[in-house]
């Protein structure tokens, strides 16, 4: 059973009308197949048109949709094998960040990502995908291991942000994030990061400082949540839609800004309407990117990654053109 977002209400109305008609037609002789077909077509068109022009704030809703595929779904649909590895060796196992050895076709990789959970029990266990220092330190451990064993690193980023809590601060949340970013930048192996849902601030960057950054079509990536930005700059969280618009959080905007390298299209109506298809497209994209990078030497990979971040927002080219 799909749960509808506010802006999907017209589609919901049509779909419930279709369901009613179907139920009424059960055992009835009246042929309504034409009417059903017409309504279904109308509903599909409506969905396509709504999703073809989502506002940044609507995309934020889609990216946070409770039914959106999360880490475990992508593992199931993309990877042929996955051996989770646990613990940071200092303090604890943090299930907000999952990682381990995985196979993508015939490629062996180190897979790391945020897991938000899918029901109350698992959401609590995974802390809604909000990593703590031990989660980022586990990611560092796994990235360093990947570097030693020549395993490319694939990350799936999906977090509203790193966990804001007293203990997380005490154990060095900032230090853990900084070191995790540093570990990405130090990898002598290919790294492909994908923002699959929410790319929330430092907690996302720590797993996304890769030479190739992909983004699902309706994912969002930002320095602060639209609500957070709105409550600071507009002094009310109600201005979140305006903040989402102003901050440029969508895949299309970020591609233009050179912050991401590739958009992976989602099925019509968003990844949650067909997780398998969404994962299939992502599988192909990650595979293609990895194959290109696997031909490069460790030195060129490091240089590519460094230049990518040193050059983001670089004005020299623009200024040269202007002259």
């Amino acid at each position: 059973m799909i749960s509808y977002l506010e802006f999907e209400k017209p589609v919901a109305a049509l779909e419930s009308r279709i369901a009613e008609l179907r139920a009424a037609a059960e055992g009835d002789d009246v042929d309504i197949s034409n009417e059903l077909e017409r309504l279904e077509e109308k509903s599909a068109d409506l969905l396509a048109s709504i999703y073809g022009s989502l506002t940044p704030w609507q995309k934020t809703q889609v990216a946070r949709h409770p039914m959106r595929p999360h880490f475990r779904d992508f593992v199931a649909y993309i990877f042929d094998d996955f051996m989770p590895l646990g613990g940071d060796r200092y303090y604890a196992e943090d299930e907000a960040i999952v990682g381990g050895l995985a196979r993508l076709g015939d490629r062996r990789v180190m897979l790391i990502g945020h897991e938000k959970g899918h029901d109350t029990e698992s959401r609590l266990r995974h802390n809604f995908g909000m990593g703590k220092p031990e989660g980022y330190r586990k990611a560092i451990r796994l990235m360093e291991m990947a570097g030693r064993f020549g395993l490319p690193v694939v990350t799936l980023v999906d977090t509203s942000g790193a966990f804001p809590g007293v203990e997380a601060e005490e154990r060095g949340q900032a230090e853990a994030i900084a070191r995790s970013t540093e570990a990405c930048l130090a990898l002598p192996v290919p790294m492909v990061a994908t923002i699959v849902g929410e790319g929330g601030s430092g907690g996302a960057v720590a797993l996304a400082s890769a030479e190739r950054v992909l983004m699902l079509e309706h994912a969002v990536y930002s320095v602060i949540s639209p609500e957070g930005c709105a409550s600071i700059l507009w002094r009310t969280a109600e201005k979140a839609p305006e903040a989402a618009e102003a901050m440029k959080v969508t895949a299309r905007d970020l591609l233009k800004l050179g912050v991401i390298d590739r958009i992976v299209n989602e099925p019509v109506g968003g990844a949650h309407r067909d997780p398998r298809a969404a994962a299939g497209a992502l599988r192909d994209a990650i595979g293609e990117e990895l194959d290109k990078l696997l031909r490069m030497s460790p030195e060129s990979l490091l240089r590519l990654r460094e230049d990518r971040f040193l050059g983001i927002g670089d004005n020299t080219k623009a200024r040269r053109r202007a002259r």
Partner: protein
């Protein structure tokens, strides 16, 4: 600019008394009225309660470096890349900040020496839009690191920021990995990278270059953390522990090497540079 104007500019938070000459400032902590000249001579530390007041970039550089240091030019970066607008245009906010500052943005870099030890010193200036990290700050940090690599000397960075500059959106976030590229290069070149955390250092600045130093020094009482206190309170719904996210608290939890009074800062840095000599590395 007269010496008095300079002092006024560097005391953004000490509220001035409504007198004709504005010679008095009020300690933001204990409200003691201080004679501006005494306050300055005491390095903007309250003689009564030891509160370490916030200081601007020029004041800081003058306090730390031997006379005759060279202020490096500020980087040129894309201005207002998102054409951001909230209740005001970002372009106007930046214009207003520049009108109140001798600088173009919130991070200044100087080449100089500390008791004879050559160093590049970067200072993040809270008085300029809360020290927030945008492209200009990130690029200035990078340029400072590049110069340290050229000069083969230490890089010392004073951090101060409410966090990322939201008006530059994701591009401000991208300054985290960008700065980290350079801290890695300093490490590889065997050059000391020393961070002095000043009040306040929070958000993406803390979660990148502020926490990647060989040495972390914090000024007494400085607020240092990743998440904002209100955000944490909203999440855990209980009151925060005493001294939470203050310099002494971070020292206790192993995140900084030492908490150093401002009056001992210059000598401490010089002593460190005497130990961490670049030539001995690699």
């Amino acid at each position: 600019m007269s010496w008095l104007t300079q002092i006024r500019k560097s005391i953004p938070f000490g509220r001035k008394r409504e007198s004709a000459d504005n010679l008095w400032v009020k300690c933001p902590n204990c409200s003691e009225m201080l004679f501006a000249r005494d306050y300055e001579e005491n390095l903007f530390v309250c003689p009564r309660c030891d509160h370490h007041g916030r200081v601007g970039a020029d004041t800081r550089l003058a306090q730390i470096l031997d006379p005759g240091y060279e202020l490096l030019p500020e980087p040129s970066v894309a201005e207002d890349p998102l054409k951001f607008r909230d209740s005001k245009k970002y372009a106007d906010r930046i214009k207003a900040a520049r009108a109140k500052s001798p600088h173009q943005d919130a991070f200044q870099v100087a080449l100089g020496a500390i008791e004879g030890h050559k160093a590049i010193v970067g200072v993040q200036d809270f008085t300029f839009m809360g020290g927030s990290m945008g492209m200009a700050v990130g690029q200035a940090f990078v340029n400072g690191a590049k110069r340290a690599l050229e000069e083969e000397c230490a890089y010392i960075v004073f951090t101060a920021a409410g966090g990322a500059r939201m008006q530059e959106g994701i591009l401000s976030l991208m300054q985290m990995p960008k700065a980290t590229v350079m801290t890695r290069r300093l490490k590889e070149a065997g050059l000391p990278y020393i961070v002095v955390l000043t009040d306040p250092t929070t958000g993406g600045v803390t979660a990148s270059y502020a926490m990647l130093g060989d040495i972390h020094i914090a000024e007494p009482g400085a607020l240092i953390g990743f998440a904002g206190q209100r955000v944490i309170q909203d999440t855990i719904r209980e009151s925060l522990p005493e001294g939470f996210q203050r310099a002494e608290y971070l020292h206790k939890h192993g995140m900084v090497d030492m908490v150093v009074e401002r009056k001992s800062l210059r000598a401490t840095l010089a002593r460190l540079l005497d130990y961490l000599h670049p030539a001995q590395a690699a």
